[in-house]
């Protein structure tokens, strides 16, 4: 078991865990006991939700319904991914719903009523969103206005602008042959390509991990055993291929879903593997420490707010494409809170400095599953709100309890 030369990072006798398979299992169990729950609550929650709805209505886990579920998730998921960035720096943007609706309205009005090119219209909406994000950033860093208040004002103001530019008709229908509607409703990955993409992803995962392992071993640092890495990659491959196969029994894997997944992966890379992402976490953890380390704190805040607004805009466009219209209710109602709730349910802390891009993916699946399941049961939307609210309360409760437990066990 033991290596002749202890790795550079395994010398201290106080270290009780090992990096072999058994050590990994025992250290993950200890993490969970100490309150470092990771994605466990949300995954368990998803399984419970799936089981309950499947018992109540066997359509729930059918391929047809899951295809719908994934498409429903993508738009809110993109908005929620944006929320992850502001939460990481310990701020909030309550106006993502309004910004998404406003962006959809801008695009639809320019495209349909003024005959602009769709790409240009979307670009205009994106530029407006960037300006909104920058505005929040400047209000926070230059005027010290809490983002809670700034974005609450924005929620109302941009909703008003959305209504204003939609005008008396109140609704703009997007033509079905437009690229946006096609992308959001009809564009599916060919079955063979979906399997190839899944295989490529698993292979990429394995290669990246093997590369890390090789570099660490060369530097005389401990690393996960080969078997664990290969096992994880195989598990990932099987899970993805199965999921895609299951979706392919119906309409298949939507390009919109792939788009969302790619965004999540890119965001995850940016957060975990770049200096900018490290700075986000540092600002969220201890703003003063980040400033003294030479991090441009204002820039980090601005970039987080801009990304949030930009992703809200993209999510709004996807949502408009899915409904083939931009109207008075685009981005209103529960869009805002669903997006924020999804990030929190997925495990991104409201208190800053802790979170992951994957929390947007998992949390959105929970929210979308509840909405979808309750719709299948013909429950009124009133009950949907109640149940989503309860799930959010449970998620935040788990977060708070885990936070306290982490503090007791000396973890961040």
């Amino acid at each position: 078991m033991s290596t002749p030369h202890a790795a550079l990072d395994r010398v201290d006798e106080r270290l009780s865990d090992t990096k072999d398979a058994r050590g990994l299992v025992s250290s993950s169990l200890r993490n969970i006991r100490d309150g470092d729950l990771g994605f466990l609550p949300v995954v368990v929650g998803l399984v419970i939700i799936a089981v309950i709805f499947q018992i109540l209505n066997p359509v729930f886990l059918s391929s047809i319904n899951l295809v719908n579920l994934t498409l429903d998730s993508a738009a809110v998921g993109v908005i929620s991914l944006g929320i992850v960035f502001v939460l990481l720096v310990g701020e909030i943007d309550l106006s993502v719903g309004s910004v998404s609706g406003f962006s959809a309205a801008i695009t639809a009005v320019l495209f349909v009523r003024h005959g602009w090119n769709l790409g240009l219209a979307a670009l205009a909406a994106c530029l407006v969103a960037v300006a909104i994000g920058l505005l929040y950033g400047v209000l926070l860093t230059k005027f010290g206005m809490p983002s809670f208040v700034a974005s609450l004002s924005g929620l109302l103001a941009f909703l008003g602008l959305q209504l204003a530019i939609l005008g008396d008709q109140g609704s703009v229908n997007l033509p079905f042959d437009s690229a946006l509607v096609f992308f959001a409703q009809l564009a599916f990955v060919p079955a063979w390509l979906s399997y190839v993409l899944a295989a490529l992803f698993a292979a990429g995962f394995l290669l990246a991990r093997l590369g890390v392992r090789r570099r660490r071993t060369r530097a005389n640092l401990s690393s996960a055993p080969l078997g664990v890495l290969v096992g994880a990659a195989v598990l990932l491959l099987v899970a993805l291929e199965f999921a895609f196969w299951y979706l392919n029994r119906a309409r298949g894997v939507g390009w919109m879903l792939v788009f969302f997944l790619v965004l999540v992966l890119v965001a995850n890379y940016a957060i975990t593997r770049t200096k900018w992402g490290r700075s986000l976490l540092a600002v969220g953890g201890n703003r003063e420490a980040a400033r003294r380390s030479g991090i441009n704190v204002s820039f980090i805040y601005w970039s987080a707010f801009i990304l949030t607004a930009l992703l809200a805009c993209v999510g709004g466009l996807l949502s408009a494409g899915r409904l083939a219209s931009a109207n008075l209710s685009s981005g209103t109602g529960d869009v805002n809170l669903n997006a924020i709730a999804a990030a929190v349910i997925g495990g991104t802390s409201l208190f800053g400095g802790r979170g992951s891009a994957f929390s947007a993916l998992l949390g959105t699946l929970v929210i979308a599953a509840i909405a979808n399941g309750l719709t299948l049961l013909n429950l009124e939307s009133s009950w949907r709100f109640v149940i989503t609210g309860v799930v959010l309360a449970v998620a935040v409760g788990i977060d708070s309890l885990a936070r306290r437990s982490r503090a007791n066990h000396g973890r961040a």
Partner: protein, 258 residues
Amino acid sequence: MSTAPGVDVRPASGSGQPLLSLSKITKSFGAVKALTDIDLQVNAGEVVALVGDNGAGKSTLVKTLSGVHAPDSGTFLFDGRPVHLTGPAAAIDLGIATVFQDLALCENLSVVDNLFLGRELSPFALDETTMEVKSWELLRSLSAKIPTVRIPIASLSGGQRQTVAIARSLLGDPRIIMLDEPTAALGVAQTAEVLGMIRRVSERGLGVIVISHNMEDVRQVADRVVVLRLGRNNGTFDARTVTTQTLIGAITGAEDHA
């Protein structure tokens, strides 16, 4: 002595001139004279303790040295050359690092993350392996007792956090390091650990300035003790021979050594 890469160890300057030399430094805030005609010398490889009662001007002096405040008058020689610090960044560029009392660590980030915060290697594809190796080499060279560098700062004790903060300031390759109350709120063993670390830092050829209220610690770790009282020098003592009684006398003004 093993050295970490990135931490350049310079020999004590052979010419015998002090690394840092202040003379007649004066600083006023409005009508209040915070510092009056302060003299201070720090040689390479020397630990200088700065002691004084509250309001004696220790913090103002440290802030002057770290570029936060510009002195009103007086000469500031670094390596024999007159310098004029325009801001904290200028002080760091010159090679004067400061570890403030609040340490300024991000509790949610790991030891490696904190050590390299703001100077990560390869910003668009973080080189975690090299950063971890360099962290280990640096911490080992300081005989720091950190079990693993991949745990968040929140998991560490006060002494370990102080260790990380000192190690981080060394990564910037400074010539002088200033520590503000490094042993405040530490237990016996942790205090000993941090004091040992301060000695090891000075053995690398760095000049160390330590602010402390604890006379035991001061006499244990310092070579010289500089006492400030009401913004003026009130004596410089050899830490090996001075008694706590004398130091307290100088701090409180019972004895005048100006």
